[in-house]
């Protein structure tokens, strides 16, 4: 197929064919990761810049590993160790770094639209590694990749996303990605953690505050991390109550389909949104998600570095 996007800023707007192309390419990289020397020279001589303006361990590591497995050079900085601390603007930082000639930029930033802002101003391709509560496309892709190993097709399958929908870029990318692939989606959480305009923004996505009502019909359950730092801002009464209503417990999983696929983007608050028995149980694909993360990011880097670009 002919790939026409310079950047990956979100899953919104990608076609089913394009998403399938990335997932199929990622399958091949799974094979590379199994080799005695898990390294291919596809991006030799390319330089990838990782810019993480927000703390991240797994995404930053996963991107760095993906680039290195493709023989790219990886340079990176985090907010704490750079001139950002000295007050340099995002654009100045990027221009400075681009003048050193990088081929691709991976960026995480707390501002929605940060990745797009940069993409419009530099020649290098840009991959959004999470921009505020907007999107986290490679997370959506790795969720699809991990779930696809269990389900043959997403057509008509029901995905339930549980947790803090308002603040979750993971949820948004999942909604775009899984719905494009044909899944039906319901979001679930306390009404205070579902944005008021949600129905308008996503008319085809269901809203439900009672998790127990959704269990029997779900083919996939995605548990979001409860951002504990938000507690005490009046969005939910207590962690204990949240746990009671929304934790995916061994008890709840019994009411779901026996082959329901359980996902969690990590890091998990074990015992708050998901019980260890479920996180480590047979329905869980949590570790497959982490593994798919490297393969999917290799696929995205490879496609963006090598494809025919639109200008």
């Amino acid at each position: 197929m002919t790939w026409t996007h310079k950047n990956l800023l979100g899953l919104e707007g990608l076609s089913r064919e394009e998403i399938t192309f990335i997932l199929d390419t990622a399958e091949r990289f799974h094979e590379v990761l199994d080799r005695p020397i898990p390294l291919v020279p596809a991006l030799r001589g390319k330089t990838i810049l990782n810019m993480f303006y927000e703390p991240s361990t797994r995404t930053a590591t996963s991107f760095a590993m993906a680039a290195k497995r493709l023989s790219a050079d990886v340079v990176g900085f985090s907010k704490a160790s750079s001139s950002v601390k000295k007050g340099e603007t995002l654009l100045d930082t990027v221009r400075t770094i681009e003048s050193m000639r990088v081929d691709g930029v991976v960026i995480r930033h707390s501002c929605p639209g940060a990745a797009r802002f940069i993409a419009q101003r530099i020649d290098a391709f840009v991959i959004n590694a999470g921009d505020g509560a907007h999107e986290h496309p490679t997370q959506g892709l790795l969720d699809l990749s991990a779930a696809r190993k269990r389900l043959e097709s997403f057509e008509g399958r029901h995905l339930v996303v549980v947790g803090d929908i308002t603040h979750s870029r993971v949820a948004r990318s999942a909604i775009y990605g899984f719905s494009t692939m044909g899944a039906e989606i319901t979001v679930c959480g306390p009404a205070t953690l579902i944005p008021p305009h949600f129905k308008k923004a996503f008319p085809n996505v269901g809203i439900e505050t009672d998790f127990d009502r959704l269990l029997a019909d779900a083919d996939m359950i995605m548990m979001l991390r409860l951002q504990l730092e938000r507690q005490g801002k009046g969005l939910f009464p207590s962690i204990r109550e949240y746990r009671k209503l929304y934790c995916l417990t061994a008890e709840r999983i019994k009411k779901a389909k026996p082959d329901v696929v359980v996902m969690h983007p990590g890091p998990m608050n074990r015992g708050i949104e998901i019980e260890p028995a479920v996180a480590d149980g047979p329905n869980s694909v949590v570790l497959a998600q982490v593994r798919a993360g490297v393969a999917v990011r290799m696929a995205v880097l490879y496609i963006l570095a090598g494809g025919e670009l639109e200008h």
Binding site: D24, P41, A42, I303
Partner: protein, 182 residues
């Protein structure tokens, strides 16, 4: 431009029988031998060669397949994104005599990429190269150990090998390149 047939299915099978015999002769048997085909047509040819060696020697030789897309040196030049196919080498290459198999040897760049890739899987004792067609015009110092047929076609011509397994028809064909190419 009409294409001209240079060999048919019967002739291709004779070449395969001859190459299989030569491989056994050169290596004094089929012990420690393994075949690796370059996808997709080299893969199909490797399987045929393995069947032929089995018929002659009564021994199963392991067969692997490699896709060299990730080892290409012209990623930027490809107009269409090549779909990366599966590489599958289900045996340890270290210490083995590996016969690399492809349909057409032309510039040598594909073979160069395949050699690099195989060496990433281990350290074979010897790597030999078997091709159905050798087009002569090399850009790298690479030569075939076993050749079906030498076809000194010019660079303005295209030599195609079609196999039942991959193309639903079989034969070696030559045609003029379309003028807009290049």
């Amino acid at each position: 431009m009409p294409e001209r047939q240079l060999a048919d299915a019967v002739e291709i099978n004779r070449m395969i029988t001859r190459i299989a015999t030569q491989i056994i002769e050169r290596n004094k048997g089929s012990e420690n031998l393994a075949l690796v085909g370059i996808v997709r047509r080299g893969d199909a040819l490797a399987k045929r060669l393995a069947a032929e060696i089995k018929r002659l020697e009564g021994r199963d030789v392991p067969v692997g397949a490699i896709d060299i897309t990730l080892y290409r040196d012209d990623l930027q030049l490809a107009a269409e994104m090549p779909i990366v196919q599966a590489t599958s080498i289900p045996f340890d290459v270290t210490g083995k005599i590996i016969v690399l198999v492809d349909d057409v040897l032309y510039t040598g760049r594909t073979v160069r990429a395949a050699l690099t890739e195989i060496l990433d899987f281990g350290r074979p004792k010897i790597i030999q190269l078997a091709v159905l067609v050798d087009r002569i015009h090399r850009e790298l110092p690479i030569g075939a150990d076993f050749t079906g047929r030498k076809i000194p076609a010019s660079t303005s011509e295209i030599v195609d090998v079609f196999l039942e397994e991959t193309d639903e028809r079989e034969g070696i064909f030559i045609k003029k390149k379309e003028p807009e190419e290049g």
